[in-house]
Symmetry: C2
Subunit: 131 residues, 2 copies
DNA sequence: AATCAGTGTGATAAAACATTACATGGTGTT
DNA sequence: AACACCATGTAATGTTTTATCACACTGATT
């Protein structure tokens, strides 16, 4: 049985993952930057994705297609890993972590609600109901 | 379920297959030259192996470890695909196909028998029983 | 208008791979 | 013993793929 392939084994290169997920390299790296996936690396620093990574990317894609933004997706997919938000730091990269404040939470949820049905909706009834 | 990964999908690059099978690139390409596997190619001519390819390579490796040579392995693994042998052609490469002749078959089978138990055998009883 | 989020694109460097040719250690053959 | 062959190693060279970084763009938010 294929030498016991585990769902966490680093197996696939970028190109394969792009085709399997129909995402661009840019997108995939961007989602990694936001810790939605943490692919392994080869000795030569090339990303190697696991089956789990691919599943996760497909989840991300699905949520994006539903109009949910990064913040929401993170909230949904990283709900175990001690909820936190990232802040851009001057030394480049997304790193700082902090608990959600009440205001942030409210803001985020409002955004999610607004965006949730943003697609496939009739052009008449718009977001003027929210603000 | 990982976007319906089929056992025939071209997914893995050489490096991954090397690690999964513990074979060298040279070996893997050599077995391909002998039609034991026929990996797909990327747009840029890079080999892409499927789960089936990996299984096949592991079978090959197993048979080799048992002391069976290429000819025997081909006979075993390609038994459906209309048995044939290859002859080196001057224009390089293994290509010509031809039905086994009786002599060839006898010779091959003799070799297989001799080699089959070549390893893990007591150094006393040797191939002097065959010739 | 200015900002921000998500993604595209281009430049550059390095890693991984393909191909080819030659070398080598066993095994079998003459 | 000398030779031939099989399966594999290795080196040279060229191409493909990926990494990183920087900047641009579009649509939505403020």
């Amino acid at each position: 049985m294929s030498s016991q392939i585990r769902r966490t084994m680093p197996l696939f290169p970028m190109g394969t993952v792009m085709k399997l997920t129909d995402l661009s390299a840019r997108q995939i790296r961007y989602y990694e930057q936001h810790h939605l996936i943490t692919p392994d690396r080869s000795d030569g620093n090339r990303r190697l994705y696991s089956l789990n990574d691919i599943d996760r990317l497909l989840e991300v894609k699905d949520l994006l297609d539903q109009g949910i933004n990064m913040a929401g997706i993170k909230k949904i997919l990283l709900k175990d890993e001690s909820q936190e938000i990232e802040l851009e730091t001057k030394d480049s990269g997304v790193k700082l972590k902090k608990e959600f404040t009440d205001e942030e939470l409210r803001k985020l949820l409002r955004k999610e609600l607004i965006n949730a049905g943003r697609f496939n909706r009739s052009p008449g009834m718009d977001r003027r109901f929210f603000h």
